[in-house]
């Protein structure tokens, strides 16, 4: 009997428990509303890259994004959003490509790119200061296109 009470108490405790804050190294969750608010508040141009650790083409453009952030990071905000991914996979991807210069978020449902009119991964969105979406590049981005579109944003 006491064992059954304990068991019920444990089930109830589990059911009622609220998730705690994410651990320090977990990517923060982000919603379409929050990303829109983030780019709207930005005083600098924003390059928003949608990626996933399971996406082979994303691996090809990751070094390019790292290099672009190193060169333009003082004038442009670089944001990465991992979609339909696992926290472990996303963190491993960031570590493998040393993408720590980008501000990363986690979107398990892929709602963020859908809300911006994009489909699939990778996608790169280019925002002017104030949040106006200037260009969307679907698929792997090459160096010429990335630099040219950033140059256009910087005007």
């Amino acid at each position: 009997m006491p064992r059954r009470v304990l068991l019920i108490a444990a089930v109830l405790a589990t059911a009622c428990a609220t998730p705690g804050p994410p651990s320090a190294d977990e990517l923060p969750l982000i919603t379409p509303t929050e990303i829109a608010s983030t780019v709207d508040r930005a005083e600098r141009p924003v390059v928003l890259n949608i990626w996933a650790s399971w996406c082979t083409p994303c691996r090809s453009e990751a070094p390019l994004l790292r290099a672009a952030e190193a060169e333009y990071g003082d004038r442009v905000d670089f944001i990465g959003v991992a979609v339909r991914d696992s926290q472990d996979g996303a963190r491993a991807f960031i570590g493998e490509f040393s993408l720590t210069g980008l501000e990363h978020y986690f979107d398990p449902t892929g709602a963020v790119p859908t809300s911006l009119g994009g489909r699939g991964v990778p996608i790169t969105f280019f925002f002017a200061p104030g949040g106006e979406l200037v260009r969307t590049h679907s698929g792997v981005i090459d160096e010429r296109t990335l630099v040219l579109l950033i140059d256009e944003l910087l005007g």
């Binding site: 090809s60 070094p63 698929g139 090459d142 040219l148």
Partner: protein
């Protein structure tokens, strides 16, 4: 799938094949043989160029073989050139120097078409310019150098010049084509949108090595008095 890139590549191979076809009108067997070699060179070049680009980006091709297929992710041009040259040596062995000469003009024509196909990919523009022929990206007011069209034009002019060339020493014509290609990429590179200084140092190095090798081959051949080799142009 980036179909426009695939279309540009197809156009480049078609241009090279067209030049081969024009120079082998009376010999279908030779035409087939040269086109086979051309395809081997293209495959070898892309493979080696892609592997090198992956290594330079910190990706191990053995651990990530699927990444090889993402050609859009980058192909290192210098390594691709070496890959193409190696493919000729493997496929033609002893006749490799002559085969290289026969491919020189078709390769330059192919490169001209490849760069010219930027029009189909909306990828011609480089650094900002206010020259009369400069134009802007769709939706932009900033006019830019059509750097890929400059490159296409230069490759076309060099292809025409080398099509008329004759040399007594095997591989000198191919060497001249490589020197010209490196020089064209070197002079147009500052007009390209690139991270850092782009590949100026790599093209400078390639130009120096190709020039030295071509001059050395030419001097060595002059002493031997080899029979004249035609460029293989139309």
């Amino acid at each position: 799938m980036e179909f426009r890139l695939l279309f540009a590549a197809t156009l480049a191979i078609a241009a090279a094949a067209l030049v081969i076809g024009a120079s082998t009108r009376d010999d279908p067997q030779e035409r087939r043989s040269r086109i086979d070699l051309l395809l081997g060179v293209v495959m070898g070049g892309i493979l080696v160029g892609r592997i090198t680009a992956m290594l330079l980006a910190g990706t191990n091709p053995l651990l990530r073989p699927a990444d090889l297929l993402v050609v859009r992710g980058g192909v290192d041009p210098m390594a691709a050139t070496l890959g193409g040259l190696t493919a000729v040596v493997i496929l033609r062995r002893r006749s490799a120097p002559r085969s290289l000469d026969l491919l020189a003009v078709p390769a330059l024509a192919g490169l001209s078409a490849w760069h010219g196909a930027c029009v189909l990919r909306s990828a011609c523009l480089g650094s900002p310019a206010d020259l009369p022929w400069a134009y802007a990206e769709a939706g932009s007011a900033l006019t830019r150098h059509p750097v890929e069209l400059y490159t296409a034009l230069l490759f076309g002019v060099v292809a025409l010049l080398l099509a008329r060339a004759r040399t007594g020493t095997p591989a000198v014509l191919a060497g001249s084509a490589i020197v010209a290609a490196a020089a064209i990429r070197l002079v147009t590179e500052p007009l390209r949108p690139t991270l850092g200084s782009g590949r100026v140092a790599a093209y400078g190095f390639g130009l120096a090595v190709a020039t030295l090798a071509t001059v050395a081959l030419s001097l060595a051949g002059r002493g031997r008095g080899s029979p004249s080799v035609h460029s293989g142009g139309p």
